[in-house]
């Protein structure tokens, strides 16, 4: 049995906005993601050149060497718009908050062995600066990218990066006195193990091509760092040594990485399939930055895994290469 309430029905004059209809094959009912995102960035008749970059128009696809006939093809398979993003994050935050409460109320953080606690702090806390670096790059991406399909997910990604940096900060404050954050920052600034990663991060700050920024930060660096740190180090290695409290305090990160990878893969797959030139450029960027990232992660992997370092790193690299190939990127 079904119940049907009668309501006054009025036939609409149209289903959606013209800028959306043009990109979904005509005037059809459109989703919230589509109406929020497709064809919304201004395209023509711009007034003034940017004083901060007079060589380009205000909105200009020439800020990347990647070329697309239609930039709006680079859609987000997650179909996130602000509301779905913030509601989803609010739910995840609730879980993460419950984890913080659980660990604290049962003093699980105090039951970590001194070695495990030290290792967790040594490996994870400097990464709050790496997450801040990711935030900078995604803000840069948002401000310089062409087409709303890149601009909106970029600012959401940037805020996610900030959230991750703040979760790591909370982890530090829970495990130790606040001074531990200064110690970790000193490691980031001067500790030998962290210099290659900081060097790589600072080099990424001066990349001007927005698609390269996207690729370096969200595909290559995150694509190697998150599986290495959160899957292998936190979830496997630390947990097997009685450090599951740390896994609870960072449960957001691997979950987030799985989601954000869907966006990254969706964009790169379409960009690579667009032309041989795109494919070649994406492949060249990927190989170059992958090798640098491996170099940067090696000392951290040594710290995290000791003599297992090479095995762990190789697993992650293989996984990353397979992912790249699936996207049509030669590595």
């Amino acid at each position: 049995m079904s119940v049907e309430i009668k309501a006054v029905e009025i036939k609409p004059l149209r289903n959606t906005f013209t800028n959306v209809a043009e990109l979904i094959g005509g005037d059809k009912p459109a989703s919230r993601y589509q109406e929020a995102t497709l064809g919304t960035q201004a395209q023509t008749n711009m007034h003034y050149r940017p004083t901060w970059e007079p060589g380009f128009e205000l909105f200009d696809p020439r800020r990347s060497a990647i070329q697309m006939r239609e930039w709006y093809d680079l859609r987000d398979p997650r179909q996130l718009y602000y509301s779905s993003w913030t509601i989803q994050r609010a739910k995840e935050q609730e879980t993460q908050e419950a984890n913080f409460d659980f660990v604290e109320s049962r003093c699980l953080h105090l039951s970590l062995s001194p070695e495990v606690k030290k290792l967790a702090i040594d490996v994870l806390l400097p990464l709050r600066h790496a997450a801040w670096g990711a935030n900078m790059n995604n803000n840069e991406l948002c401000s310089r990218a062409y087409s709303e399909v890149l601009i909106s997910p970029a600012i959401m990604q940037a805020m996610d990066n900030l959230g991750i940096a703040q979760y790591l900060t909370r982890l530090g404050l829970m495990l130790e006195e606040p001074e531990i954050l200064d110690t970790a920052k000193a490691q980031w600034m001067n500790g030998a193990a962290w210099q290659p990663l900081r060097h790589l991060t600072e080099d990424s700050f001066v990349i001007r091509d927005f698609m390269e920024i996207f690729l370096v930060q969200n595909f290559v660096v995150d694509g190697l760092l998150y599986p290495l740190i959160y899957d292998r180090f936190v979830d496997d290695s630390l947990t097997s040594r009685g450090g599951s409290a740390v896994a609870m305090l960072t449960s957001f990160m691997p979950l987030w990485f799985t989601q954000s990878s869907k966006w990254v893969d969706g964009v790169l797959k379409v960009a690579a399939a667009e032309s041989d030139e795109n494919k070649a450029l994406l492949s060249q960027w990927t190989s170059h930055w992958r090798d640098r990232t491996i170099t940067a992660l090696t000392p951290i992997a040594t710290m995290a895994f000791g003599d297992q370092q090479e095995i762990m790193l190789n697993e992650v690299i293989e996984q990353f290469n397979a992912r790249a190939r699936k996207l049509g990127i030669d590595v």
Partner: protein
């Protein structure tokens, strides 16, 4: 076993500092100038970014929690509105013109500043200021998208909403807010902050956002007013950012004061010109009026703004240069702009009409010094012509101010019978302005403002036709070709309200909803 360690409890301020400014570092592998290339060239001197006062101490976990709650409620209303034909509850179909104007001319600005705040959020050297800007960037994305989802339902049933992006990029009156937004976005990050966060969000938002949202509340527009209430707490944060930003810049170095003063002069004037569109909306487009434009100006600009500038005097800041002229204009601009749009109603993507006698009386009462003397006779003349079957439509193209891009329709300060008109010759080219202040803005940055994409000039140059149009064809109708370039549905989006499709459909559908 008591394992609780006696850990230091951090205060909110210290804790927030760890969550934000503690995250950044001074680069050493790349020169700082290469990582932050944009925060010096405007001449602003910052000696100590740590003096930045965090305007709101919001971490991402709390942000998601609050915003998620707000959005759940908001979208429940948007859905209910769509499901129950909420659009039939508005006071009168004339109200639709007000939201068309908002959608066409204000919503795109929300989208614009996402990128501007992301740029500031990346490029200021101080981490705390960056986080505040980033939060505003993502809030502005929220505003653009929630407006899109609220308006989506109106677009299904009424005209003039369908081609926001096309129109924004092309239509003559939309180049007013578009050039305003692009002027801010193409400026350096500090000017952007003074333009948007201070001059716009702090000084003028109560004259832009509040009138539209109050208009929605007064006119039964559940969808828009719910968005407005939901955005209120975001707007409060944005205003706080604006006031903190300006105090920070002024306290950092005395050399910043004249630069900031120049920006305040410029952006107050530019903002007041954009607001002329709001004035027309408040006085003419709301079937149920909230207050007159003049009253709004007196409360929000003269009283609140006056207090603000008295407060800023201790930094050496004086009220904006155009203050007195803008205050005098409160008696005129809404009428001048409405008359302009009435006469150019064939080229606007919303409807215009003649006010009823009752509405004219309301205006007479609200504008005792000016309305009966200067404007009522013209409105009555136009109404009478329309009644005789001679609805007035201007067929010629107006002259635009090079700076604010509004057609020359404003009058001389002190003489409401004379159109204000200024000219500057720059590198052998003549440029026209609506006022001393727009002329001065051009004079301060001629290299920027010679680039203005002035729709009328572009039409005359033949740049405003669709690509497949042949202007040499014998039956070529240039006006029609331009309106097609704007993506107008001719006769449905534009022109007189009386007899329009929107008017007829609204009456028919409301009849279906309330009668058997």
């Amino acid at each position: 076993m008591d394992m609780k360690a006696s850990k230091k409890k951090l205060g909110i301020k210290e804790r927030y500092a760890h969550m934000t400014r503690g995250l950044g570092w001074e680069p050493t592998y790349q020169p700082t100038e290469a990582v932050f290339p944009y925060d010096k060239y405007e001449g602003i001197k910052i000696h100590d970014w740590d003096k930045w006062v965090d305007p709101f101490r919001l971490t991402m976990d709390a942000y998601w929690k609050y915003q998620g709650e707000k959005d759940r409620k908001l979208y429940a209303v948007i859905e209910a509105f769509a499901q129950n034909n909420g659009h039939l509850n508005i006071t009168d179909a004339r109200y639709l013109s007000a939201i068309k104007l908002f959608w066409q001319g204000v919503s795109p600005l929300e989208n614009y500043v996402v990128q501007g705040f992301a740029r500031a959020g990346r490029h200021f050297r101080g981490e705390a200021s960056r986080v505040a800007c980033q939060m505003q960037a993502v809030d502005e994305l929220r505003h653009y998208q929630t407006q899109t989802h609220s308006i989506s339902n109106y677009n299904k049933y009424y005209n003039g909403f369908h081609s926001q992006r096309h129109m924004w990029d092309r239509v003559w009156y939309l180049s007013v807010p578009k050039s305003f937004g692009e002027d801010a976005l193409t400026s350096g990050p500090f000017e952007f902050l003074i333009a948007i966060s201070f001059s716009f969000e702090y000084v003028l938002t109560n004259l832009l956002f509040v009138p539209f949202m109050s208009g929605a509340a007064y006119n039964g527009d559940m969808s828009t007013v719910t968005f407005g209430f939901s955005a209120q707490s975001d707007e409060s944060r944005h205003m706080t950012l604006g006031i903190e930003a300006i105090k920070f810049l002024l306290e950092q170095d005395p050399a910043n004061v004249p630069i900031v003063q120049g920006w305040i002069d410029k952006w107050f004037w530019r903002g007041s010109k954009v607001l002329a569109l709001v004035g027309m909306m408040m006085d003419y487009m709301l079937p149920k009026r909230v207050m007159s434009w003049k009253e709004a100006w007196e409360i929000y600009a003269e009283e609140n703004g006056g207090a603000l500038f008295r407060d800023l005097a201790r930094y050496g800041i004086r009220p904006p240069k155009g203050w007195a002229d803008a205050c005098e204009a409160k008696n005129h601009i809404s009428h001048q702009v409405w008359l302009l749009f009435y006469e150019y109603g064939g080229a606007a993507a919303f409807h215009t009409w003649s006010p009823t006698n009752e509405e004219l009386d309301w205006l007479s009462a609200k504008y005792p010094e000016t309305f009966d003397k200067y404007y009522r006779p013209r409105l009555e003349f136009l109404r009478d012509k329309h009644a005789r079957g001679e609805r007035v439509y201007q067929g010629t193209l107006p002259t635009l101010c090079t700076t604010c891009q509004i057609p020359l329709c404003f009058t001389e300060p002190g003489d409401p019978t004379k159109i204000s008109h200024r000219e500057t010759v720059h590198k052998d080219e003549k440029y026209v302005f609506c006022s001393d202040h727009c002329q001065e803005i051009f004079g301060n940055e001629p290299e920027k403002f010679v680039q203005s994409w002035l729709p009328v000039n572009q039409i005359y140059q033949g740049n405003c036709f669709k690509p497949d149009v042949d202007p040499t064809a014998p039956d070529f109708d240039p006006l029609k070709a331009v309106l097609e370039y704007f993506n107008y549905n001719l006769g449905r989006d534009n022109g007189e309200f009386e007899g329009s499709e929107d008017q007829q459909n609204f009456a028919k559908w409301r009849g279906q909803a309330v009668n058997n």
